[in-house]
Subunit: 320 residues, 2 copies
């Protein structure tokens, strides 16, 4: 299967390495890579892990047409509030009859039902495992393993930056020290405001709600409060009570549709949602037939995000 | 698809209710039920949730031959150290060209590689999702969702009785109070020794090792120490250090094969393996490509065990 990569940052490079390493077992070939920064690389025989870039294609449409790919992998830098340019890239792939895999949560948060309908009409697959909990199976778990079960709701500690900031304040550091620690781990961008204000969690909440609760929502519609009002004094007072704080995403079905929210919640130390250190994430699903269960991901990194994309790609292969 | 149930205790009854409830979407029909206590029920048009039992068939072979079933579901009471009579029942199903699903961990702990080989030779499926973590996807997760990933090891808090006993002692009760609490929750049998001495955890450890680490081991080969030496005084001293105790199953690949053990371990309150109350279970997988991740199951009951069997059955349907 020939692949066209749109975007080639840390996740894209890690994915390229993984595809090379697993080439014998999983017959993928990267025939095109397009980036704003480096330009465009094309080779119908397959690009290596360190491709040579030429001038950029005039447009994503031109790039995809030239790539001779069966699948498009969308990994660009995202505007989380619009989902662009990722949504347009995904549409361009679907319109050309390509399967599309993305690690960008914006399109799932902002335009899932439309993109799903377009993919169905074009008879192609659209996959997005890495958008929540990195590569740990979440969406593919529901796609493959839980026949007949309805998700009634979910609760998750899905944002790593806020967790690192809270842990830093618990240990006596300032809010800014915490953001610096998160930046040094490579898990937050620029000023970290998007994470600290809860918008990363809100986007994941909207994505989960759109896919698992049949919601038609967007990031901006999720009632969201981040951790920016938390102070080291308040966090340490909570620690003295034997408790901790986590930025929690919650969603549940209601008679009117769905109820969603993102809040800093005070939790018992033994609460599953509070467990795990560093960048670990947790999600719990409340269901009709399977009670409450969920997934944990311990200190995931860019390799795990790349693996999630890889697992989506493998699911596109015939006979998988 | 016609099903023959061997055993009709709490899990079997819950499964029969679930199959009835989901009959329109998932076309299963229970055409035979065989139990030691109630006798045998047969109806080629399908038995209801409350079948009428006649005299028992002369043997499991006779029962399966009379059931006209495509799949056998093994749910009998188990001798955990031999895996019998479940192993013989599974063999009888496979030998008749039936797919087999079991919720009994004994056969997976004691005879997995043999049973897998027999099923492959007979071109039938053999499934056992509910044997570890009840219905939460564990084995089916690895079967469907993690292409190319190797399990390097695992760690799990997989035994509910020991957890309830430890929590009882943390709150000032005795060991026996804890066992009584576990019995009242319906999660432990008779005297609870099998759980407290660690053998339930050892059987799950052996099952996980056989399936995920390519081991050829048995319950008895897992170095096992239970929680029987723990006293309320010791448990409370650990609580005063801000920590807790859990009966932990561990396995990992080594150059020589696998290293396995079951031990009561002192853990931080914030450790994922210590999280969750009551009958909650946790498992973590250490892997090559996907780092460390895992599953949690919060207070599972018999309905979740039945659901695990149901999900296995659905995976046997054509086009699933």
């Amino acid at each position: 299967m020939n692949l066209a990569l749109i975007g080639f940052g840390n996740v894209g490079r890690s994915l390229a390495r993984l595809l090379c390493r697993k080439r014998r077992e999983f017959p993928f070939r990267i025939t095109g890579i397009h980036t704003l920064r480096h330009g465009t690389a094309l080779d119908p025989n397959g690009l290596g892990e360190n491709p040579s870039f030429g001038p950029p294609a005039a447009s994503i449409a031109d790039f995809l047409d030239a790539s001779n790919a069966d699948g498009a992998v969308e990994l660009t830098t995202l505007n989380p509030f619009t989902g662009e340019p990722a949504i347009s890239h995904i549409r361009a792939g679907i319109a050309r009859g390509m399967h599309v895999v993305t690690a960008n949560k914006g399109p799932i948060a902002q335009a899932f039902s439309t993109l799903r309908a377009e993919a169905e009409a074009a008879q192609v697959q659209f996959r997005f495992e890495s958008t929540v909990m990195d590569g740990a199976p979440v969406f593919n778990l529901w796609r493959s393993n839980l026949p007949g079960v309805q998700v009634l709701g979910f609760a998750g500690a899905l944002n790593s930056t806020s967790k690192v900031v809270i842990e830093t304040m618990e240990q006596g550091g300032s809010f800014e020290d915490g953001l610096a620690a998160a930046r040094s781990l490579g898990i937050t961008e620029a000023d970290g405001a998007y994470d600290a204000e809860g918008w990363d969690s809100a986007a994941k909440t909207a994505a989960l709600a759109n896919v698992l609760l049949d919601a038609h929502t967007t990031t901006q519609q999720v009632p969201t409060r981040g951790i920016t009002r938390l102070t080291p004094e308040r966090v340490q007072a909570i620690v003295r009570q034997g408790k901790t704080v986590r930025l929690i995403s919650r969603g549940r079905r209601t008679k009117a549709g769905v109820s969603l929210r993102v809040r800093a919640e005070v939790l018992e130390r033994s609460d599953i949602l509070a467990s795990g250190r560093g960048t670990s994430n947790v999600i719990l699903f409340h269901t009709d037939l399977m009670g409450t269960f969920g997934s944990v991901s311990v200190n995931p990194g860019v390799e795990q995000t790349a693996y999630g994309v890889f697992s989506d790609l493998v699911s596109l292969l015939p006979d998988r």
